[in-house]
């Protein structure tokens, strides 16, 4: 196991600047996710760590030692779900024991290690079988066991879950997270799926267009996104964004646009008083923090229903406000036809503000 340090890592493919100066520190034993849409540079970064791609400039260190001159085989990096060529003439047990013996490990210790890994992965019952007699899931498990048995410095998972269906996904998440808990490897998950990244990792590195936007714990990424990109990318229901201006009327501050006028949440008042709020802002609020209320509620905003979706554990109302669509989570009993007039209330304590020009979040004074 090792810590992994990236220092100003760049990758260019001809004219394409795929990774643009990424620096971060991954702790020994940490579960880190590289998260972003396709083309964000997450896979290139992972491949540079594995040694499958050369680094254009910068440095990568394992436990403080540069590894960029080392071949992939010398880095001791494991990739999950690679199709490991198992030896067809050897049993599952021998397939696991072979690399250990080849590395000079003694008989007793080999057996102890094979049993230990086999039990955690849950394959001791198929130890006697030959690879040809395994189902695809079983061969995958044996491949995984063989990757883990040699105690790699870093364990890389490249989109291991995204193609699975709902119930397989839940099982695979539990499995991967338990694997990390049991073995304590430094693990890096590469994914475009924010739910997988949030559920599995200790910290998430959010990337887009070769740039690292934020590295933080899932909770901080969710609650305190640094910019509009992170805010919009994280969350099982997308965050609502509303353009508005900060205006002072009769001594009070308001967030105003053509369709609404709501009081500026108090946590921003000191900044507004000090003239530190940009005039043009983007309000960010998650669907969980907008509720449908009666139209005489002070500070509420009128809108009309676009569609209501009943998802089982919650209903999601999409409403139209000034040609814009917003989503709000509502009770499972709520139903309404398109065009039904409604009023919305935004929870002040969960209202985020972003500078429209820079996209950066304006921190509140709490």
């Amino acid at each position: 196991m090792a810590s992994v340090t990236l220092k100003q890592v760049h990758k260019r493919y001809g004219k394409v600047h795929a990774v643009r100066g990424i620096s971060m520190e991954i702790q020994d034993g940490e579960f880190m996710a590289f998260l972003g849409p396709s083309g964000c540079g997450k896979s290139s970064t992972m491949r540079m760590i594995a040694g499958l791609e050369e680094i254009t400039s910068g440095d990568i260190l394992f436990d403080g030692e540069s590894i960029i001159e080392k071949k992939p085989s010398q880095r001791n990096v494991a990739m999950a779900f690679e199709t490991y060529a198992l030896y067809p003439t050897l049993t599952v047990y021998e397939n696991l024991a072979f690399p250990l013996r080849a590395a000079g490990m003694k008989g007793d210790e080999v057996d102890r290690r094979v049993q230990e890994v086999g039990e955690i992965i849950g394959i001791t019952e198929i130890f006697d079988r030959k690879p040809a007699k395994l189902s695809s899931g079983q061969s995958q498990a044996v491949g995984l066991a063989r990757a883990l048995i040699r105690k790699p410095n870093v364990f890389l998972l490249d989109e291991p879950i995204s193609h699975l269906d709902t119930s397989q996904r839940f099982h695979m998440r539990v499995y991967l997270k338990r694997l990390h808990l049991e073995f304590g490897h430094t693990m890096i998950l590469v994914t475009h799926d924010q739910e997988d990244a949030m559920a599995l990792s200790d910290r998430v590195a959010v990337m887009s267009e070769g740039i690292l936007h934020q590295v933080d714990t899932p909770r901080n990424i969710y609650e305190n996104p640094l910019d509009l990109f992170v805010a919009g990318f994280i969350g099982n229901l997308p965050m609502n964004f509303i353009d508005a201006q900060v205006k002072r009327e009769d001594g009070y501050f308001y967030l105003v646009n053509k369709a609404m006028r709501v009081p500026l949440p108090e946590v921003f008042t000191p900044k507004a008083e000090a003239g530190q709020l940009p005039e043009e802002v983007v309000i960010g609020i998650r669907p969980y923090h907008i509720s449908l209320v009666s139209s005489d509620t002070p500070g509420s905003v009128s809108a009309e229903i676009f569609v209501v979706e009943a998802l089982g554990d919650m209903n999601v109302a999409t409403v139209q406000l000034n040609g814009q669509r917003l989503q709000a989570v509502c009770p499972t009993t709520y139903r309404a036809a398109p065009h039904t007039p409604v009023a919305l209330a935004m929870k002040a304590e969960h209202t985020l503000l972003f500078d429209k020009a820079s996209g950066r979040r304006v921190p509140a004074d709490r």
């Binding site: 119930s167 924010q194 676009f306 979706e309 009943a310 998802l311 009993t333």
Partner: protein, 375 residues
């Protein structure tokens, strides 16, 4: 409007779908939902007439479609692999179904612009498909399928390749459009949220068979069997293996090794009890928001467990606990903290038990109680 009677499709020795019987009514949004290999796309292709049933018949307004070629069915289909014309621009791809029906140019232009705006692709109508991302191509394919008037719209995973944010937006657009225009749609997906959000009615398929045919709320709250229960929900239901006993205190579920007795709900009895008496494998199904989690034992109906896994998902912390070798998932507030291995107590309220006997559901909780508990 369209009815499948005993439809079976055989490919060589494989039965892709077996004895399908269902009807899609006029103006209905019907979703075919299931895992890979369930037979969803095959069913859609049978309705479209791209493949013919091996046995059984498909009727449109009571008339058999046997032998009627796809081009004479006036159905509009969207394929998962897009099937766009690569030599035509986005505009011409969208215009194609309209021009093919001789629509005047001005009307074509108006409809194409309207559809492009709806799908957020208005800036790229001059481009050819080769210059679009996968998500953009998928939206063009969806637009081309929806742009013309057809009797039935057949949509095969039409938004599955979009990014999460866009997919949720497009889901709402699609639902609204079909409601407003009163369209008849048969939509295929493997995503349960998409199925729930869009459908008037869901048909759950697995291995070519219908597992359940019901309204989405029904599928969620009253899954017909443990397959549906394990496939629907975020997360899907957790299961606890038990045995059944009728003692002096009334019907109860037992975990014999731990000596735990879980009393059944007050209205558990009749046919459900009879099935439980005679069945061999009994499981309790639990939704993650109907189990509570405590750090002390001083609550009613609570039992010792150990934290197995914690997933911080932003809007909630999803905690998996090991309860007598059963993994049970519990939704907790994002403000709570839990440690793996921590000793905890789970609150099991018998009013929220779904009961499965040999895989089939025999009892579901009263939905009014469930609604009031999560509202």
């Amino acid at each position: 409007m369209i009815e499948l009677r005993g439809v079976t499709k055989r490919f060589g020795t494989t039965l892709a779908v077996r004895n399908l019987n269902f009807t899609c009514h006029e103006g209905e949004f019907l979703v075919l939902f299931g895992p890979a290999g369930a037979g969803k796309s095959t069913t859609l292709r049978l309705i479209a007439g791209i493949t013919e049933p091996s046995y059984g018949e498909i009727f449109l307004r009571g008339e058999s479609l046997n032998g009627v070629p796809p081009e004479r069915r006036n159905f509009s289909m969207v394929f998962e692999n897009y099937a766009l014309y690569s030599h035509l621009t986005v505009f011409e791809n969208l215009a194609f179904p309209l021009r093919a029906r001789g629509m005047p140019d001005a009307e074509v232009r108006r409809r194409v612009q309207e559809m492009a705006a709806l799908l957020h692709i208005e800036g790229m109508t001059d481009r050819k498909p080769g210059y679009l991302s996968g998500g953009q191509r998928q939206r063009v394919a969806l637009g081309r399928g929806l742009i013309r008037d057809a009797e039935i719209y057949l949509l095969d995973e039409p938004i599955s390749h979009l990014d999460a944010r866009l997919r949720i937006q497009m889901r709402a657009e699609l639902k609204n459009m079909c409601l407003e225009k009163h369209r008849t749609v048969i939509h295929v997906t493997h995503d349960y949220k998409e199925a729930m959000a869009l459908a008037d009615r869901v048909i759950v398929l697995n291995k070519g068979r219908i597992m359940q045919d019901a309204a989405p709320e029904e599928v969620y709250h009253c899954p017909a069997n443990d397959f549906v229960a394990s496939f629907v929900g975020d997360p899907p239901m957790s299961f606890i293996k038990v045995s059944y006993r009728e003692g002096e205190g009334g019907p109860a579920f037992i975990l014999p090794e731990a000596g735990i007795v879980l009393r059944a709900a007050k209205d558990f009895g009749g046919r459900a009890a009879e099935k439980a008496r005679t069945g061999s494998e009994i499981k309790l199904g639990l939704r993650s928001n109907q189990v509570s989690l405590f750090t002390t034992a001083d609550q009613l109906n609570c039992y010792e467990a150990r934290v197995y896994l914690v997933e911080a998902q932003g809007h909630r912390n999803l905690v998996t606990v090991d309860f007598q070798d059963n993994l049970v998932q519990i939704s907790t507030s994002p403000e709570t903290t839990w440690q793996v291995g921590q000793q905890v107590w789970i609150g099991l309220d018998p009013r929220f038990f779904h009961v499965f006997v040999d895989g089939r559901a025999v009892y579901h909780p009263d939905r009014n109680i469930v609604f009031s508990s999560i509202a």
